[in-house]
């Protein structure tokens, strides 16, 4: 059985004088025990999908099922078995760590003791602060508490909406380690993130933009589908280099990417020597061109640029 199934889900919001399509005909499914990531920038429609799946929002069109239960007709069943961690920290800031956890356990008719082993890993780090109010915790601690609260009723599936946004790199890494351990216990996890580097930690990912899914696959497959040679170009004047590379005739795409500019060419590898000639003629100093392996972000940038297969058919 699939843990999550979406079929042709559409959700629109009425904005001023226009209609914004937040989720545009999205279909995908998540296998049981899978760690599935929704990757995309802000406004891609990730949160809307989460809210539809957690029965907080009704879709305009399409069907969605969570563990076989329809989100509209069997929403009560779903609310018993899912754990949801909203994007914004939303626990009671005026209650202590322990009181928060206790409260969320009791409203699901369970106790901390009953499911302690599930949250033990995470909660142990919080235990020294258990009499501290939730509002006084650090960002990373808050996320851990929120995860504990979402887990305390032993959900079969966990929805985590941008759990690591605004959290420091060390806490982010710890958080993903925790997700892996939860996955090992058989919990299906659906997670969204705007960070491309977290994408490769998922089993499968869906790249999203403007309410549409650009591609769904495992991270290695997505990288393999890149299908072009990728070059990292560096020189002393990086800004001028970007302008020059973009004006170069055979440039297919060029983006600033950390220390380097990532470049693909139209007539590869024929034009690589032409490029070297061209850069010499433009007076760049200490120019280096190295062939590199593409990352998820490169794939995302490429997919954003090219029209999706569906649009070509239309």
């Amino acid at each position: 059985m699939k843990s999550v199934e979406l079929e042709n889900i559409v959700k629109t919001y009425a904005a001023e004088k226009s209609i914004v399509t937040a989720v545009d005909n999205v279909s995908f499914s998540v296998e049981e025990g899978e760690l599935f990531g929704l990757i995309g920038p802000d406004g891609a429609g990730k949160t809307s999908i989460f809210r539809i799946l957690t029965t907080l929002l009704l879709a305009d069109k399409g069907d969605a099922k969570v563990l076989g239960y329809d989100v509209v007709t069997h929403y009560k069943k779903i609310r018993d078995i899912v754990g949801y961690m909203p994007g914004r920290f939303s626990l009671y800031q005026d209650l202590t760590v322990e009181e928060n956890l206790n409260f969320f356990a009791t409203i699901f008719n369970t106790t901390i003791q009953e499911n302690y082993d599930l949250v033990a890993d995470i909660y142990r780090q919080l235990e020294p602060f258990k009499t501290r109010r939730a509002g006084k915790l650090s960002g990373g601690m808050k996320q851990k508490l929120a995860l504990s609260c979402a887990l305390i009723h032993k959900p079969k599936i966990l929805f985590l909406d941008e759990p690591t946004t605004g959290v420091d790199p060390v806490s982010r890494k710890e958080f993903w380690d925790m997700l892996k351990r939860l996955k090992a216990q058989g919990i299906t996890i659906l997670v969204s993130t705007p960070y491309m580097d977290e994408a490769k930690l998922c089993d499968r990912i869906a790249l999203m933009q403007n309410g549409k899914i650009l591609q769904i696959d495992t991270p290695p497959n997505i990288v393999n589908k890149f299908g072009k040679n990728l070059y990292a170009v560096h020189s002393e004047n990086m800004f001028q280099l970007l302008i020059d590379l973009r004006t170069f005739q055979q440039t297919a795409s060029c983006f600033a990417f950390g220390q380097n500019h990532h470049l693909t060419l139209t007539e590869d590898p024929l034009s690589i020597t032409e490029l070297e000639e061209y850069l010499k003629s433009t007076n760049h100093l200490n120019t280096t061109i190295t062939k590199i392996e593409p990352e998820i972000e490169d794939c995302f940038m490429q997919l954003m640029k090219s029209p999706s297969p569906k649009e070509i058919i239309q």
């Binding site: 029965t55 609310r79 626990l91 800031q93 009181e99």
Partner: protein, 372 residues
């Protein structure tokens, strides 16, 4: 049921942890009951007056004595002329000019009647009206006294007169404080029941916790009850504190049954909590909720007859007050505290407020959705 208990425990935990709110709940009835009845009074005392006495006779001096001895008036000065007295009015030193014409005493004895001239400063209509009314009653007493003096002299036969005296029931001294204290009690219950409940629910929306509660097996009625019950108790607690303070401060306690008072306040609170819930459904932030609540509170209280009697309002405003729940509580409180009305006397008030409770809560539950 068990879930409801846990929800309630959490609500009380949060309320008791919020020290400021807790202090306010105690400070509010104390301060309002001390401040409002003493400050908002319609009794006008210490009216100043100027005398322009052109007669300088025994009778004119007697008249002036009546004024100063009445306790309402304070003599500002003896002016030589009306213009000089008017100057005092312009300087805001005097409220009333009493001009006694020359030959006042002579006319009175010869013709049996004489004239006096009053001019009141009507910048404050209230003071002017009262000043003239008090002055009239002093003159009436004065002329009655003279008449009595003369009647006792056998040269005149007794004139039959009809004298009208009035007595004020339920508030014999026309003490304005007694009028306003039950109203302030109603105000306190309204404040806690309406404002605090609507803000509390919106707070859950604002900090996002409502989403977590929505994705849980909590039922709609459990959530709503967990929000309403704590403020129902707080409202009745504030009322109790109010009763204690009004007894200590003003010696006022319900002449009627306490239980009828609590029963009425209890039903009234259910109605207002429903209205607070309705507000919180439409407000997204505490700021919005605050503004909506303030808007209604102001209208409810000013049109509720707390300060100005409903009977003084124009017809259209009186009709408006029929849909104002605060009006019924203020009325019921006054009837109960001053008049000692029984449950049976208040039956229509009970009926109407119960209807309010059903309508507000029905609307709120109808509109409340667990999906966002």
């Amino acid at each position: 049921m068990r879930t409801l208990l846990f929800l309630l425990r959490k609500e009380f935990l949060q309320i008791f942890r919020n020290k400021l709110i807790l202090r306010m709940i105690f400070a509010l009835p104390v301060i309002q009951l001390i401040l409002l009845p003493n400050a908002a009074t319609y009794e006008v005392k210490n009216i100043t007056f100027s005398v322009v006495d052109h007669d300088h006779s025994e009778y004119s001096r007697k008249l002036i004595n009546e004024f100063t001895a009445s306790g309402y008036f304070q003599l500002n000065d003896y002016s030589k002329s009306y213009d000089q007295a008017l100057d005092q009015v312009e300087k805001d030193k005097t409220d009333l000019i009493v001009e006694i014409p020359a030959g006042f005493e002579r006319e009175l004895i010869r013709q049996n009647e004489s004239m006096i001239f009053f001019a009141a400063n009507a910048i404050s209509g209230q003071t002017a009206g009262l000043a003239v009314a008090y002055a009239n009653s002093i003159i009436r007493d004065y002329s009655n006294n003279i008449r009595a003096e003369w009647i006792s002299m056998p040269r005149l036969s007794a004139i039959p007169t009809i004298e009208i005296t009035s007595s004020n029931w339920f508030n014999p001294q026309m003490n304005y404080k007694k009028f306003i204290v039950p109203g302030v009690l109603a105000l306190l219950v309204t404040l806690v029941g309406f404002l605090m409940s609507s803000l509390n629910i919106v707070k859950e929306k604002e900090i996002g916790t409502i989403e977590q509660l929505n994705v849980s097996p909590i039922k709609k009625y459990q959530f709503i009850l967990s929000k309403l019950i704590p403020f129902w108790f707080l409202g009745l607690m504030v009322l109790s504190i109010g009763f204690v303070i009004s007894f200590i401060m003003y010696g006022l306690y319900p002449v009627g049954s306490f239980w009828v008072g609590y029963l009425f306040a209890g039903i009234y609170l259910i109605a207002l909590l429903g209205f607070g819930l309705l507000t919180s459904i439409y407000a997204e932030t505490q700021q919005q909720a605050m503004f909506i609540a303030y808007f209604f509170m102001l209208i409810f209280i000013l049109l509720g007859g707390l300060f100005s009697p409903i009977e003084n309002m124009p017809d259209w405003a009186q009709y408006l007050t029929y849909v104002n729940p605060v009006r019924y509580l203020i009325e019921a409180m006054r009837m109960l505290v001053l008049k000692g009305s029984s449950f049976w006397d208040l039956r229509y008030h009970f009926l109407i407020i119960t209807a309010f409770a059903f309508v507000f809560n029905g609307l709120a539950i109808w509109n409340y959705k667990k999906t966002v």
